[in-house]
């Protein structure tokens, strides 16, 4: 039996080692070398790429990314909670509703982000409608600012918040709610003192699932932010493209990874196995 199990696990292990650890190792090696004049990496080996990370300029960009990702995560959870609650209490329509939540994944993220550009631009759907209704007389500058980026991120990662919250709310013991009601709790009190504390693990899971991709986002800030604000993902991307500084780009992405791992570790330690 043991041998059979090893045999079946072999592909997964090979996959992980070859396609995950392999590239990671390359990034680590790159991060310790020197930038080639037009991309690539050359000798000598150096730690300079890591000392450069201490430059306040990059700290500012990292901080910005945290704020943007944090705001997007809060937005996602606030929107996802009622939705997840609604789905969890929808009886036979649950599967249909869950599939609808997943529906956007059938289209490429890039295409969906472009769709947002068409919604938000001056001659876009939203501005045209507001103009036609006479609510505004000049188009609002909806596109190319931080709000547009946050809207795009919230939209993009909302399903990642709905799903863990749903599975948490779904498993919620109904008798606890009944008990609360029997003991005289008003619906809002039940929500505040029973439902919310019991769904805290779901919220943390949702937060992690949304925050991490938002922190590394580069497409949304680029397209909806109009390249005017830089998040850490854009900085990494720039190193590999315009700046042609692969070693520094590698060091940056490893630093980002380390920060994310630390955050995860801190959260997991708190939640134990509850979150998994």
């Amino acid at each position: 039996m043991m041998r059979l199990r090893t045999l079946f696990l072999l592909p997964a292990w090979a996959f992980t080692l070859l396609l995950f650890l392999g590239p990671m190792l390359i990034i680590v090696v790159y991060s310790l070398q020197t930038k080639g004049v037009y991309g690539g990496v050359v000798e000598p080996w150096t730690l300079e790429n890591y000392t450069r990370l201490l430059d306040p300029l990059y700290g500012v960009i990292l901080l910005r990314s945290f704020v943007m990702a944090g705001a997007s995560t809060i937005g996602c959870i606030v929107l996802a909670f009622p939705l997840a609650l609604y789905i969890a209490r929808s009886g036979t329509r649950k599967t249909l509703l869950l599939n609808l939540v997943m529906l956007p994944f059938w289209t490429s993220f890039l295409v969906r982000t472009y769709a947002w550009m068409f919604l938000l631009r001056d001659t876009g759907l939203l501005n045209s409608a507001l103009l036609a209704l006479g609510i505004i007389s000049e188009p609002l500058p909806l596109l190319y600012n931080d709000w547009a980026v946050i809207v795009g991120l919230v939209y993009g990662y909302l399903p990642f918040a709905v799903l863990p919250l749903y599975s948490n709310l779904e498993r919620l013991d109904k008798s606890l709610l009944e008990a609360a009601a029997d003991l005289g709790a008003k619906p809002w009190e039940t929500m505040l003192h029973v439902v919310l504390p019991l769904t805290a693990p779901g919220m943390r899971a949702a937060g992690v699932l949304v925050f991490i991709p938002c922190l590394g986002a580069y497409l949304t800030p680029d397209l909806l932010g109009g390249g005017k604000s830089m998040m850490i993902g854009n900085l990494v991307q720039n190193q590999f493209t315009t700046a042609r500084d692969w070693p520094f780009g590698s060091a940056l992405s490893l630093a980002l990874m380390a920060i994310v791992m630390l955050l995860l570790w801190a959260l997991l330690r708190r939640d134990g196995e509850e979150m998994l």
Binding site: G36, V37, Y38, G39, G40, L57, V60, I61, R64, R121, D122, T123, P139, P141, L143, Y144, G225, G226, G227, K228, S229, M230, N234, L235, N238, F240, T241, T242, A243, R244, D245
Partner: protein, 335 residues
Amino acid sequence: MRRRALVFSLAGLSCAPALPRLNVFNWSDYVAPETVPGFEKEFGVRVRYSIYESNEEMLARVFSGNSGWDVVFPTHYIVPPMREQGLLVPLDHSKLPNLKNLDPAFARPTLTSHAAPYMWNATGILFHKKMQPPPTSWADLWNPRVAGKITMLDDPAEVLAAALRKLGHSLNSGDPDQLRAAQREAMRQKPLLRAYLNSEVRDQVVAGDVLAAQLWSTTAQQAIDAAPDLDFVYPSEGFPVNLDCAVILRESPRQELAHQWINYLLRPEVSARVADSMRTATANAAAKPLLAPKTRENPTLYPTPEVMARAEWFETMTPAAQRLRDRLWTEIKSG
């Protein structure tokens, strides 16, 4: 869905005829619809043709030395570093008799040893005619009256070029003081900008969302063709010129075929068809008489000699200047 696509592509592999295959990686909108099929038919080969949107994107792919591409199209200032990195083979001029068709202004011997000039463009300002008075200089893109209605290219070399020329410096400047002054200009301009956008700004100028955009002449011309309310100007302070060239990668096992492809592109009639249908500017002098008059006499695609006197070619940066520029750009973007 994905599994079905995989099955189809496997089926395609197994029944494909064993024709020699040339791999061409080019800018988007850079061949006429019949350019590739014409070559395939005449030479009995297949061409795998794919497109990119920036030199960096192309460089990142071919840098490994086993990208699988045979011919790529770097801009002229990318050719020397690619050559120094050993990515290119010298062109065998005996296999490229059509090189003689090139405009001498573009056929610099230092370039043509490894690269065949193909199409060129310059950077200027695409604007909507409802912008009054119409812009004539880079300085007009710093005018607060059009705040929120201007875009610059999302490209450090281009943004710094405009700022440097505005200040009266060479756009290739590597001087730290001049570059810092240019950066200050760019940061002063940033609040006035709607965004930093490349070709995607086209639709927004057509729609009137953007009144003036720093843009490449060929991209601008495509917008002007679509909307007569638009026009293009080469700024009075001077402007950069870019020449895209065909090069053969050293990794290519199909050197002979690659030369045949380049020589084919250098034919006057092939080059003229590309320039006419894609509305680009050819570096091929022999192709010019074959162009439709509306292309040949177009002031955006083929500016007059007086305008061209203000042009300055982008040059390859020294590593130190490049690094300073990268840092200044990060500061501009994060500021």
